[in-house]
């Protein structure tokens, strides 16, 4: 693709204290084809011995021009494309997009559709966190959690497959509600999954929470303060692990999250270990939300009245949801035609990744792997 770039200004200008080891400064390249970068992320590291003095991310290897494609498709046709951004949390992507277009159209999905949406989205949050946990632990050297989490994630994917025929890029929602009514036995199967899954979280925690190697590799690693998080625009579990009690599901409720009772888990130290604890607690909260949504699942229509050919009135809307990785925003401008004038996606991974430099500075090379893992990025979403 590009020529090899030499490291840029902000890396060179850095003044730093005395050399950590009596070694020359070293610039090394990591990725893009590297198993621990979770996709095609290239990182240029400037090192003093094992210590990271600074780094630069090179991204864009997976760029598909999603926003440009959006301008050449109708609102309905663009819907499946959003699943391909954060492909491990496709349902969340779809929810954000559908709700944004619904705002442009001034319609609202009926209550039953809202409930089913919440159930599927929270299942997706669990699936996303499971995948994160498995791969993150694998990066740091714990192989077993990967098998546990993938085994259990399979059960969620089976529910998706039964519901809409797809496992990952589900295209589960439609603008205005849902295309499919839930299948016979949906409620029972989700409930069975919750009963099955609740003790599994304890199992994961047994493997890791007090595991000495895990604790040594994660405690005090990649610390980011709450102020820095806000300055960088970092959201999601990373922000919460730094002690900011902020979750869009509570701060600016969308779908029908305001009807459900749940807590926002937060951490104290903003290190990799706290981010792990926050995500584990979030899975428990998701289970709580799904339980409540199942218990109160109303009968009724699943689709609001929306025109077959959608021509939203001229206007623009920014709407964002709490995706598993942070604030996922859509900014859609309508010029009154069948195609959006502009679709802008504000991906959480892209913005969160920016803080990597800040989080890795002063750490060791091996910790860079831990920090990339703990940020929980998906390159499909970073590059779009």
């Amino acid at each position: 693709m590009t020529d090899i770039q030499t490291p840029h200004s902000h890396l060179d200008l850095e003044t730093h204290e005395k050399p950590f080891l009596d070694a020359n400064e070293l610039v090394i390249n990591m990725g893009p084809q590297h198993p621990a970068t979770h996709g095609v992320l290239r990182v240029i590291l400037r090192l003093d011995g094992e210590k990271v003095l600074g780094l630069e991310c090179v991204i864009g290897y997976l760029h598909r021009g999603v926003e440009k494609i959006g301008e050449h498709r109708t609102y309905t046709m663009f819907n499946p494309y959003v699943d391909r951004m954060d492909y491990v949390a496709a349902v969340s992507n779809g929810l954000g997009y559908c709700e944004t277009v619904e705002k442009l159209l001034h319609v609202e999905a009926p209550p039953r559709a809202q409930h089913v949406r919440v159930i599927l989205t929270e299942l997706n949050r669990i699936a996303s966190h499971q995948l994160w946990l498995g791969t993150h632990a694998l990066d740091i050297g714990a192989i077993t959690p990967l098998f546990y989490t993938f085994r259990d994630r399979e059960e969620i994917l089976k529910i998706y497959e039964k519901y809409c025929g797809a496992r990952l890029t589900t295209h589960a929602f439609r603008i205005g509600g849902l295309q499919y009514e839930t299948y016979t036995g949906f409620e029972k199967e989700v409930k069975n999954f919750l009963d099955f899954f609740r003790p599994k979280i304890d199992e994961y925690e047994e493997l890791l929470t007090t595991n000495r190697i895990w604790v040594e590799r994660t405690k005090g690693v990649g610390i980011i303060s709450a102020e820095d998080c806000i300055a960088y625009g970092v959201t999601g579990p990373v922000l919460r692990a730094s002690g900011v009690k902020w979750d869009l599901r509570k701060a600016q409720p969308y779908a029908n999250y305001k009807n459900f009772d749940f807590e926002i888990p937060i951490g104290e130290n903003g290190d990799t270990y706290d981010r792990y604890l926050v995500r584990m607690a979030e899975m428990r909260q998701s289970v709580r939300i799904i339980e409540q949504a199942l218990a109160a699942l109303p009968e009724g229509p699943i689709m609001a009245k929306v025109p077959k050919v959608m021509k939203p009135p001229v206007g623009e809307v920014y709407h964002s949801i709490e995706a598993p990785k942070g604030e996922l925003g859509y900014f859609i401008v309508s010029d009154g035609s069948t195609q959006p004038y502009r679709v802008r996606v504000r991906p959480p991974s892209f913005v969160n990744l920016q803080a990597l430099d800040e989080m890795c500075r002063g750490e060791l090379v091996a910790d860079v792997i831990a920090v990339i893992g703990t940020l929980d990025i998906v390159l499909g979403e970073v590059d779009r």
């Binding site: 693709m1 590009t2 020529d3 770039q5 840029h8 200004s9 902000h10 991204i59 864009g60 760029h63 021009g65 926003e67 440009k68 050449h72 705002k103 442009l104 001034h106 806000i230 300055a231 960088y232 625009g233 970092v234 900011v244 902020w246 701060a251 600016q252 206007g315 623009e316 809307v317 920014y318 964002s320 604030e327 925003g329 900014f331 401008v333 004038y341 502009r342 802008r344 504000r346 892209f350 913005v351 920016q354 803080a355 590059d383 779009r384």
Partner: protein
């Protein structure tokens, strides 16, 4: 708050609301000051997004949009300004450090430069790329002719 700003800056600000969301059109000369005021006095401490819109028929071809959020107020606002092709805007990296990559993406996709940005270069596309894809006059087949054929040695990526 918007009324207060309107009182301070008069005709330079045009407050608007659509679908319950506030945004304001701001004259581009006022942008650095307004962003500074929003950050420091109105507590908009989180720069959610920076993006742009292209209207090729207009004299001032671009809308640049800042989506801001305030943690203390739990409130969002969008600031919007119009600039001509080739005109630059001051970088907001000194105000929100997270604006860095967002501004780079705007440059990459629209060709709008930000003065004082620490590292103004492309971010998603390769450095040798020609043109800025999210401009409306950038044809969707252009990259086929200018990139795919030359660099990948295949006839068409479409």
């Amino acid at each position: 708050m918007i009324a207060k700003l309107k009182g301070m800056y008069g005709s330079g600000i045009d407050p608007l609301t659509y679908a319950g969301q506030n945004h304001m059109m701001v004259d581009s000369s006022l942008i650095p000051e307004i962003l500074q005021v929003l950050r420091n006095e109105e507590q908009f401490d989180y720069c959610v997004d920076i993006t742009a819109l292209h209207y090729p028929q207009r004299e001032k071809q671009f809308d640049v949009i800042w989506v801001l959020y305030s943690f203390p107020r739990n409130e969002r606002i969008r600031v919007k300004t119009q600039i001509a092709d080739g005109a630059t805007l001051p970088s907001s990296v000194p105000i929100w450090i997270g604006a860095n990559w967002l501004e780079r993406e705007v440059y990459d996709m629209f060709g709008i430069k930000f003065d004082g940005h620490p590292d103004m270069k492309r971010i998603l596309l390769p450095d040798g790329w020609k043109g800025h894809p999210l401009r409306k006059d950038y044809g969707i087949l252009q990259q086929d002719n200018e990139w795919v054929q030359i660099n990948l040695g295949i006839e068409s990526g479409q």
